[in-house]
């Protein structure tokens, strides 16, 4: 049993859960549904949480919920729907032009990741945005560590290739 109640242990990771679900589903509405279902499951299995890493545990539940809901019916890899640019947090030291270029680059990167197959997409998010170790990622996605490593490598290769061949000005698809 974890120390503390569901509120203290799980709710602080709701943003992380939503962010992961949003990257899995590429839709705000679907991500909300997935996290809401996942929270109900998390409540039910809360007593089975053994270690202190509630975040990775919650990711696992989010992923299972997403998989049960979407992956089986073949919607998991539907074409990406791009919404408007979210609130970027740019460097304050940059002048307006450099800032605009940086925002463009970030937005291009967001779209590039969104366009990756979900197998690559999720390991990149868990590694770069959540800072999970290979071992933790392997537990979340239920795959060997070697698979995590090769998916990360291939995902990054693709992103680097996309960045290289896309001119800096035209980020739209």
């Amino acid at each position: 049993m974890p120390r503390g109640g569901f509120e203290e242990v799980v709710l602080p990771h709701l943003d992380a859960a939503f962010n992961y679900a949003r990257w899995l589903t590429r839709s705000d509405a679907d991500a909300e549904d997935v996290v809401q279902d996942a929270a109900v499951r998390a409540l039910r299995f809360f007593s089975s949480l053994r270690n202190d890493d509630a975040r990775a545990w919650l990711f696992t539940i989010v992923r299972n919920t997403w998989y049960a809901r979407f992956a089986k019916v073949g919607r998991a890899d539907q074409p990406a729907v791009f919404d408007d640019m979210k609130d970027d947090r740019p460097d304050e030291q940059l002048d307006p032009e450099a800032l605009a270029i940086q925002q463009q680059a970030v937005e291009r990167m967001r779209r590039a990741i969104e366009g990756l197959p979900v197998d690559f997409r999720e390991v990149i998010i868990l590694r770069e945005l959540e800072g999970l170790s290979y071992k933790e990622i392997a537990a979340v996605i239920r795959a060997p560590i070697g698979t995590v490593m090769s998916r990360l490598a291939r995902g990054r290769e693709r992103l680097l290739a996309i960045l290289e061949c896309e001119p800096a000005s035209g980020g739209a698809r």
Partner: protein, 245 residues
Amino acid sequence: MNCSDVGRVIDAYGDGELEAAEAAGVRAHLESCPICRQRVADRESLARLIRRIPYYQAPDRLRVAVAAARRPARISPRVLAWAATVALAVSLGSATAIRVVEARRRADATAAVAQEVVASHVRALMGAHLFDVRSTDQHTVKPWFLDKLNFSPPVDDLAPIGFPLVGGRLDYFAGRPVAALVYQRRQHPINVFVWPASDTREAPADTREIRGFQVQHWTRGGMAFWAVSDLNRTELDQFVRALAP
């Protein structure tokens, strides 16, 4: 190590996932190989760019829904308190004990209403049925209730202090229609439920917290008021002070 050896582990190297000996081997190769150095640098700048991507944040609606799904206590503290009171009444068998029981019963009734208030607040947010009448004008909202209720809830304009009215709806508690007024502070809706009080003595606001929601209750001008929100205590206090001067 040659370039192709390094290529196989270059990601694990950058991610700090290599054993010390293997990492040392990569470092040694990098010193003599500008091409592999460039590959490492490319991955580092890729990682920096990815980390600038804004985090998708859970919407408030989801926060409310998840908070509402929390597990209720196994044995309610209220049941335990009741048992203690009844035991006290039996042992004393006096008028005092009866008054204690009576006060306890009233407190429990109030606590039950508070639970209903929170449940209704959550239902309204989850079902997205927050309004029957959507208006920021008190002179639109107040008359709207006229032919639907046999009382007229006071409707205030608190926009000047940062709590704009956003609308109203009919709600039902214990089979009785009540007025629900919706105010807002930033992204946080505040539900104010109003109905004729059964105990019309004026009562100042009492505050409680239920499942992360702030709930305040007061009686004024023969009306019972309940305000509920996920706002913090300080801001809801400010709101209630303005509403119940």
